[in-house]
Structures are given as structure tokens and as C-alpha cells.
């Protein structure tokens, strides 16, 4: 990339971001037109968590869009404030839901991040780590094994204790490490399982890397709930990470390779739908069609693939599910993961299910659509800001007096559970599939 990284020359230079994005090619629409769509009315400011944190226009959607325009014009450098603000953004896309003018903010910020990556030269630790840990199962396995050892040896307790005493950097981060499941669901489950009642069709599930490492139970519950409702479930063992972690961090090269691999693997299952219980993964897999739009060999297959992807709650709500005979016994509320409500506009379906299985114990959560601060790896990179958002979420949960929080994304589950644990709150945080399966199981 020849684009300058220095702010000395403020002369206009058209098309910088545009060509950068094209070089990456994820969002072909990322262009001047997309930026011009913002009429700077400011209606999005009220829903933006980072604007609420700093009160500064540059940390707002409207401000960030203006900075993107300025980078395109060549009036500000890529490095420095621009890069900081693009990464400080949670990519929660609450602004996209709020924007009446239809500005596709999510696409803009992801293109901007890719642009930043393309512009950088040299060794990039973050990307290397992401590539190592999220690409193959083996990478994540190695990381998980280390983490499990750390948690089992009791070292964790010492670190957590120390972090209370010296609340600094890496020690504080250690608190966020979730308890890992003992085993990956994908290691326990066979490649195919039959439904428990008369078959309605076949689905394949993505076990997800974070989901499977931290919440293998949720995967087992997902399979059970699907079987309980007449679905034959394929669990392809050769599947790989959906690629979202790389994609959101601006590394689309890796994301594309992962997408191609998954397309091949999932096609092999012959399933009608691909059910995904992690909001971040389902959102990203629905976008494979865009990710591979320029790839002549895979564009059509990606389109079919994305069409088959269904988020778990969306799937069971739309195809119909058997109502459990009993209701959840504690007070329950529902937290809306950004990648469900804002990215996929899935809000009523999971809420209706939760209301249904909670009965009178359902409590509505104030600011249910506000990001909990987890946002991928955000809570590690921006620890303090994420902690403030988490506090806000926990306070709202406290106020509605819920003992159980249901959410549809592993990041949110881990974040809220870690917060509850640190605040010594009596709170259980579970996936919708787990809540539902517990009721099914109790019938037996």
C-alpha cells in the first residue's frame, strides 16, 4: 500500500480507503457512497456505548464515520487516533439499528479495520496470536490445555487474589478467563445423531471454538434440544472456526480460507440447515456470501451456504419447538447479544422463547440491547472500558432482580458470568439451549 501513514501532507487524496478495502475485498460496497449515506444527524449517539463512556464525538458512530471520510481524503493519518478509535469501537452495531438513514456502519468499521491492517507492515503479534489460536482446532486445543492446567493447579486462585491486591494490567485480565469445560463437545459427540422423536429433517451444527472450549455443555444441550424436536443432527468433525475473530480484526485472508473449508465440510453433511448457537459465528457465517463474493469458484456455494445458516433461537422459533411441561423456577431475564439483535436483527424470537419457558418468573432487562463489553477480544484489549460496560449491565440485572440470565453468545456468557463472580452476585448465566434442555430433562 502506498497510502501515507503520516499526517504532514493534508492535501486531498481520493480513494485511499476505497482501494485499501478493495485490496482486501471483503466489503466490495465499502466506498465513498456508503460513507456519504451518513447525514450527520446524530440520532445514533444515544445508543453508542463508547460515546457514553467518553462523551467525545470521535468515539461516536457519527464521529468515526467523519474520521473515515477524512482518512479517505488523506487529511488525517491512519495510525494514531484513527486506528485507536476504530479499535475502541465495540462493533456492536447498535448504531446501525438506530440509524434511520440506513448507514451500514458495521461494514464501514470492518473495512476500516482491514484498511488499517493492510496499511501496517512488519510483525503483528495480535494477528499472529489470532491465527495460531483460532485457525485450527489444534491451536485452540493447545491454548485450552494450558488454561485448564492453570485453573486446575490452583495457580488461578493466587493470580485472582493478587489481581485484587494489585489491580494492574495482565493480572486484571486473568480475572476474565472463564472456567473451561473439561472436554470439547466435538470430542464426545459422534458425527451424526438421530432424533428422539419422528424425524423432520437434518441439520448440521457448528460447535464453535470459543463456545466449545468454554461452554461445551451448551453444545451438548443444543444437540439434545434439536433431537428432542425431531432433527437429525450432524456434527462434522473436520469443521473449523467460522473466521469471525480474524475477520473482525481485519484479517480477511485467514477468514476466507476458513470459510472455504467450512463450506466444503458442511456441504458434505447434506443437511438442510446449519444451526449455530453462537451469535457471533452465525452472524459471520451468514456473511460468507459477501466474504467470498469475488471468488468465482466459491461465490455461488457461499451464497447457498449462507442461506442455510440459522441462529439457534431463530431456528427453533421459526420451525416450532415443543413447549416443556414445566417453567424455570428462578427469576429469569434475557440479555441481547449485539450480534443477535443488531447484526442479525434477531430479538423477538429468543425473547418470546425465554418468556415462554420462564412464565411468571420472566423479568424484562433495562437496556437489554446494550453491549456487555465482551465484544470478541475487546475485553482483553480495552479492559477498563469493558469493565465499565459490564458494571452497567450488572447493575441493570441487579435492578430487575433476576437470578438467571440467558444469552445467546459465548462472549456474553463468559463476560457476565465473570462479572457476577467478581461481584459475588448470586447469578447463573446460561445459554438458551441449556435452559430449555434442563426443562426437557426434568420431564424424565
Amino acid at each position: 500500500m502506498s497510502h501515507r501513514n503520516s499526517g504532514e501532507d493534508l492535501g486531498p487524496k481520493k480513494g485511499g480507503m476505497q482501494s485499501g478495502a478493495r485490496a482486501g475485498g471483503f466489503h466490495p460496497e465499502m466506498s465513498e457512497d456508503l460513507l456519504a449515506q451518513c447525514m450527520h444527524c446524530g440520532l445514533c449517539l444515544s445508543v453508542c456505548p463508547t460515546y457514553a463512556l467518553t462523551g467525545l464525538e470521535r468515539s461516536s458512530p457519527r464521529g468515526r464515520i467523519r474520521l473515515m471520510k477524512s482518512v479517505m481524503d488523506g487529511t488525517i493519518p491512519v495510525a494514531g487516533t484513527f486506528e485507536y478509535e476504530m479499535n475502541f469501537c465495540l462493533d456492536c452495531q447498535a448504531c446501525q439499528t438506530a440509524c434511520p438513514a440506513g448507514v451500514k456502519y458495521g461494514e464501514l468499521v470492518e473495512s476500516a479495520r482491514e484498511f488499517i491492517q493492510v496499511n501496517k507492515k512488519g510483525f503483528k503479534l495480535k494477528r499472529l496470536l489470532l491465527r495460531t489460536f483460532f485457525v485450527g482446532k489444534s491451536g485452540l486445543r493447545a491454548a485450552s490445555a494450558l488454561l485448564r492446567l492453570y485453573q486446575k493447579t490452583g495457580l488461578e486462585k493466587i493470580v485472582i487474589f493478587m489481581s485484587g491486591v494489585f489491580p494492574i494490567g495482565i493480572l486484571k485480565r486473568a480475572r476474565l478467563l472463564p472456567r473451561l469445560s473439561d472436554k470439547f463437545a466435538i470430542d464426545i459427540l459422534p458425527e451424526f445423531v438421530e432424533p428422539k422423536v419422528a424425524a423432520r429433517g437434518g441439520v448440521a451444527i457448528l460447535t464453535g471454538c470459543v463456545m466449545d472450549a468454554m461452554f461445551a455443555e451448551a453444545n451438548l444441550d443444543t444437540v439434545d434440544v434439536l433431537r428432542e424436536n425431531g432433527w437429525r443432527v450432524a456434527i462434522p468433525h473436520t469443521q473449523v472456526c467460522c473466521g469471525s475473530v480474524n475477520g473482525h480484526a481485519g484479517d480477511n485472508v485467514t477468514a476466507r480460507a476458513l470459510a472455504i473449508r467450512n463450506i466444503e465440510v458442511f456441504e458434505g453433511t447434506q443437511a438442510d440447515y446449519y444451526v449455530v448457537n453462537s451469535a457471533g459465528c452465525s452472524a459471520f457465517m451468514k456473511e460468507y456470501v459477501k466474504l467470498l463474493a469475488d471468488n468465482p469458484q466459491y461465490s455461488d456455494r457461499a451464497k447457498k451456504f449462507s442461506g442455510r445458516v440459522k441462529e439457534f433461537s431463530e431456528f427453533i422459533y421459526e420451525t416450532g419447538y415443543r413447549k416443556p411441561k414445566s417453567k424455570i423456577e428462578s427469576t429469569v431475564t434475557y440479555h441481547e447479544a449485539c450480534h443477535l439483535v443488531h447484526t442479525q436483527k434477531i430479538s423477538a424470537q429468543p425473547r418470546e422463547i425465554v418468556k415462554d419457558i420462564a412464565g411468571d418468573n420472566y423479568r424484562e432487562l433495562n437496556e437489554s440491547t446494550w453491549c456487555c463489553g465482551s465484544a470478541g477480544i475487546y475485553n482483553i484489549v480495552h479492559y477498563d472500558e469493558a469493565a465499565e460496560l459490564l458494571d452497567r449491565k450488572l447493575e441493570n440485572i441487579n435492578r430487575c432482580d433476576a437470578r438467571t440470565v440467558i444469552a445467546g453468545n459465548p462472549g456474553c456468557l463468559a463476560q457476565i458470568a465473570a462479572g457476577a463472580k467478581n461481584g459475588r452476585m448470586d447469578l447463573e448465566v446460561i445459554h438458551l439451549a441449556t435452559a430449555l434442555n434442563r426443562l426437557y430433562k426434568s420431564e424424565k
Partner: protein
């Protein structure tokens, strides 16, 4: 540019974290909600006390730089857009409600409090603050007072000034002044309160505001009337007035606006409708039901194709939220959305709407119109693309004609958004010379060095616009700007 010496003084006054002058921050405060206008400030300051603001004003008078007060920057006439040689004074962090007096039904607020949040708070106490601009979820009460903002409930409840009992204000020369109090009646002295309300940040900086509250109406009911054309809608408005019913809301949307709102909010509006009225009545429950029924039959008699009654308040709220998004939703159609707020006496509504669509046709431009039908406040909205200079010129000449027509019909150039920079040039055609002279003298008297938000509403004297240009490049830039005012930025 403000000199480094002055910047140092500002940094010392506000502290390092509350003085911003990076290019990125300056860009982020170079615009507000107004189309086509933007210009870079030299710095942004975030005050933490009235004393600091007062010292800032004294420094500005001494060093001759401009101060631009800013709330959330949702203004639509360029009121908070920086001028040359200026510092933005950011008030949005002053967002507390200081006191809610339930015996006197008043509230002391800081100017940065968000209008919508304040409304939710008082409503949770059974109280009501009626002024609700379409931007209520983001605009500040200080910005509302500075613009004398109106809103959807203006017809029955009036506008911001009807709810301002008093304030604390820092004058352009730095003195701190107090006006008003909790008395519902107060005639001591000139009514200077109303001079400062709506002064668009040119006569003083509000630092504390005392607002009047009223009891929350018991119930409300929302209806939609769908019409083939504007004339049926206008007939309905007259018939409702003649029936001596005073709706809380009487809003109008034309066809392009209906389509844009439907695309955003998915309410099931019929996109083939020529005109739509959104009507809300509120008050005691029994009266509300009666009035809603009466309005329904008036709509049908005046030629409505169909009438839809919101089944409950929740659906009514949804419909109103959709109306509030009308302006931004129109922006879906084209990248640049130029909104105006020509206002005419109620009786001229149909004539004005017809003139607007005829003018748009004649100039070959896309235009959507919506607005507060009940009070004749219309928002003709030109849809274009700022990169298309010929298109922009067409929109501008269409608006010229629309404003002149509004004035001919006995109307005005702005019903609620203010004059700011955007409508300055129409002031002379609206008012007679003594009026303009008195406004000028008022500004000169309160702000002798013209340092507070210069160049807004009226031009006072050239020295207002900042330091005299010295170098050749500065002079060339200025002349280029005069020839092409829309390219003020970079």
C-alpha cells in the same frame, strides 16, 4: 489560527484532558446536523465550572477569538458550526438534573441534559415536560433553549420558551447573570428572558436552567389517516380546528416520506398513500376516547381512504417514533438531505404544500415534505448529493422560491430550527429595517467584541469573523470562500 500562546493559556485554564486540539478532534467538532456546512475549530474545551466559562469569555475578549457553544450538535441551521479563529465550548457533559421540585412542579437542570432522558425521568414521577423535538433522544435542553426548539406537541402545548422559568447564563463579556425563578407570575423589569431564549448561542451561555412541568395527561390515543392527496389532509386539519378539538399532535407526511419511514420502521403503512396524518389526542381517559372517535369520523368525512386507530399506547408510541425518524429516513433515498422549516399560517397549509411540490417538479429535484400540520410548520426536504454541484444549485434555488412564497403567505423562514448560518440571507426579506437594526444593536451592546458565536443569525461587523487575514494565502482562501461558501471546509 489561535496563537500557541493563547492555546497554552486555554490548556492551563481547562487542564490537559479538557483541552483538545488534535486534527482528529477538530474534525469531529467541525459539523452539526446541518447539510453542507462545516468548518474546523482551532480547539475544543470542556468546562467543569461556571467560573471557568466566565474566564474563557474574558480571555476571548482580550485575545479576540470566538467561542462556539455546543450541545449535542444536532442543530439544523449550523448554530454550533465553528467560525474561523474559534474554540468550541462543549456543554454536553453537564448533564445532571439538579432538582425536581414536586411542590412547585419545576426542575433545575444542567444545559447538557438530554431532552428525552429528562422526559422519561419526569414522567416516572407522573409529571410532563411537553416540548419534544424529533431529535429528543440526543439533543440537549441547553440546545433546545438556545434554539427555542419546538416539536411534535407544539400545537397544544407550545414550544420550549413556554416552559422556561429562568436560568443562569454567562454573558459574552464573562459576567454571570441570573434570570427568573419559581414564580408562575413575574413582571419585574424587561422580559429579557425571552430575548435570550432562542438567541442561538449568540447572547449568552446557559449554565443552569429552571423548567416548568405540568401533570402528565392520564391517557392518550393515536390515529393515522390515509389520504389520496394533500387536500383531504388539509381539509381534515381545518375541520378538526372548526370542531374545537385541540389534538396534542397533528403531523403530516407526504408520499416520499411515508415510503422512507416505512422502509426504516416497517409499520405496515400503505406506500401508495398520497398523504398521511398522524393525530394524537391526550387528556382524561373518557375525553380522549370521545375525541378520538370524533376525529375518526372527521377524517372519513374529509375524504380519508382509511383510518387506523392505534390499539394501545405502545402502538401509538411506535407510530410517533416512526414520525420522529422521518427526516433521517428520507436520507435513505439520496446521500444529502437538506431540510428546511418554512412555516405558514395554518389556513395556508394546502397552498404551501402544493407550491412546494410544484416547485420541486419545476426544478427537477426530489423532495419529501412532512411537518407539523397543526401549526403550519412544514419541513420540505431536498434530496440530493453534495458531490453533484448542479443538483445542489437546483435545490438551493427551489428553497429560495419556497421561502419567498412562505413570507408572501404571511409565514416565516423558520418555525423552530433557527436562523444560524443557513438562513441568514433571508432575514432581510423577512423583517423591516428597524427590526434588523435593533437586533444588531442588541448583539453589539451585549457582545462588543463579537466573540460569542459570531456570524450566526445576523452579520454584525466584519471584525467579528475573526482575526484580519495577513498572509497572501489567507486572503486567497477568504476570497475563494466568498465565491463558494459551501466549500468552507478544506
Amino acid at each position: 489560527m489561535i496563537s500557541d500562546g493563547v492555546k497554552k493559556k486555554l490548556r492551563d485554564l481547562f487542564g490537559k484532558s479538557c483541552f483538545l486540539d488534535s486534527t482528529e478532534d477538530r474534525i469531529a467538532y467541525s459539523y452539526d446536523g446541518t447539510a453542507l456546512l462545516s468548518s474546523l475549530p482551532d480547539a475544543i474545551v470542556i468546562p467543569s465550572s461556571v467560573e471557568q466559562i466566565s474566564r474563557l469569555m474574558r480571555l476571548a475578549n482580550g485575545e479576540k477569538f470566538a467561542v462556539i457553544p455546543r450541545g449535542s450538535g444536532s442543530g439544523l441551521s449550523g448554530g454550533s458550526i465553528p467560525s474561523e479563529n474559534s474554540v468550541v465550548l462543549l456543554m454536553s457533559r453537564w448533564d445532571k438534573v439538579l432538582e425536581l421540585d414536586r411542590n412547585n412542579l419545576t426542575a433545575w437542570v444542567e444545559p447538557g441534559a438530554i431532552t428525552g432522558k429528562f422526559q422519561t425521568l419526569v414522567e416516572s414521577h407522573g409529571l410532563f415536560y411537553p416540548p419534544d423535538p424529533g431529535s429528543s433522544q440526543i439533543c440537549t435542553l441547553g440546545g433546545n433553549v438556545a434554539e427555542n426548539a419546538g416539536g411534535l406537541r407544539g400545537l397544544k402545548y407550545g414550544v420550549t420558551k413556554n416552559y422556561v422559568l429562568g436560568f443562569e447564563v454567562v454573558l459574552p463579556t464573562g459576567e454571570v447573570m441570573h434570570i427568573g425563578g419559581k414564580n408562575m407570575k413575574d413582571v419585574a423589569g424587561y422580559n429579557l428572558k425571552d430575548v435570550l431564549i432562542g438567541s442561538e448561542g449568540t447572547l449568552g451561555i446557559f449554565t443552569k436552567i429552571l423548567l416548568k412541568l405540568i401533570p402528565l395527561p392520564q391517557a392518550s390515543r393515536t390515529l393515522l389517516g390515509f389520504y389520496e392527496s394533500i387536500s383531504g389532509a388539509a381539509d381534515t386539519v381545518s375541520a378538526i380546528t372548526a370542531a374545537r378539538i385541540m389534538p396534542a399532535m397533528l403531523e403530516f407526511l407526504d408520499k416520499p416520506t411515508i415510503c422512507a419511514v416505512e422502509d426504516f420502521a416497517h409499520l405496515g403503512l400503505d406506500k401508495n398513500t398520497g398523504a398521511l396524518l398522524l393525530i394524537e389526542v391526550d387528556g382524561p381517559r373518557s375525553a380522549v376516547e370521545e375525541e378520538a372517535a370524533a376525529i375518526e369520523s372527521i377524517c372519513r368525512r374529509s375524504g380519508a381512504k382509511s383510518v387506523r386507530l392505534a390499539k394501545d399506547e405502545a402502538e401509538g408510541t411506535k407510530l410517533k417514533a416512526a414520525r420522529k425518524s422521518a427526516f433521517s429516513a428520507l436520507a435513505r433515498i439520496r446521500p444529502t438531505t437538506i431540510l428546511e422549516d418554512a412555516t405558514v399560517p395554518r389556513s395556508e397549509l394546502a397552498a404551501m404544500v402544493d407550491f412546494i411540490s410544484e416547485t420541486a417538479r419545476r426544478h427537477g429535484i426530489e423532495m419529501g415534505t412532512f411537518g407539523h400540520a397543526g401549526d403550519g410548520n412544514l419541513h420540505p426536504t431536498g434530496l440530493t448529493d453534495e458531490r453533484d454541484h448542479a443538483g445542489i444549485a437546483h435545490v438551493e434555488s427551489a428553497f429560495d422560491e419556497i421561502f419567498r412564497k412562505a413570507v408572501d403567505l404571511g409565514g416565516t423562514i423558520t418555525g423552530e430550527h433557527g436562523v444560524g448560518m443557513a438562513k441568514k440571507k433571508f432575514m432581510e426579506s423577512l423583517y423591516d429595517t428597524p427590526f434588523i437594526q435593533l437586533m444588531r444593536k442588541t448583539k453589539e451592546m451585549l457582545d462588543p467584541n463579537c466573540v460569542l458565536n459570531p456570524g450566526k443569525i445576523i452579520s454584525v461587523s466584519p471584525r467579528c469573523e475573526g482575526a484580519l487575514p495577513k498572509s497572501r494565502e489567507q486572503i486567497e482562501r477568504l476570497t475563494a470562500k466568498m465565491e463558494n461558501p459551501s466549500e468552507a471546509y478544506f
